[in-house]
Amino acid sequence: MRSAIVSRPLDPAALLDEVSGISNGASILFVGTVRNINDGRDVTGIDYAAYLPMAERELAAIVAEATERFRTPDIVVEHRLGHLALLDASVVIAVAHPHRAAAYDASRYIIEELKRRVPIWKREEYVDGTREWVGTAGTQKVESRRQ
């Protein structure tokens, strides 16, 4: 069981190796990547920012919950911060379990809770050069006073 918020590229295959073991029959890897369209707008990249100590704490709590709820210690989650280009992985969730149903459920639990609770934000960059913070309730068009 491990979670981390990092500023380097993620390595999905390494996380898959980290959770695999002879008592596990199923491994699920979730990889979230930067895609070129969101809400109909052409995206060229994303900056991820976090309230780091709280994000680390919430993410660790979610992984601990999943470990207990789905009865496997073999869970590793990493989320990346900073500037990501198209195709870059922003989050990787690796879960291994003796049985596949619990592996899928644990993986899904973690990504849903992560998106609900972990204080991380993303600012999308668009082809026209503009940037906007994205919220779960749609893009927030807050005019910046710092520009």
Binding site: Y51, R57, K115, W133, Q140
Partner: protein, 80 residues
Amino acid sequence: MTITTLLFASYADALGIESLRLDLPEGATVDDALEQLRTMPGGERLPPAPLVAINLAYARTDSRLSAGDELAVIPPVAGG
């Protein structure tokens, strides 16, 4: 008493600041702190009931603050 207030993402952009100290009367709540933030330039852009955390844990806006607390005003999260 003095507390530290942290702003992030769109809220930090709105107020033009990421971290500030607020002086509040003893017994003040998160709502009192938010009211003070709203008097600042850009503070009117904060939503009526934003998510907040005290000392790294989500809290209600009627929670009482203590001297030295770290209050974070948290925009809708968008990780993943």
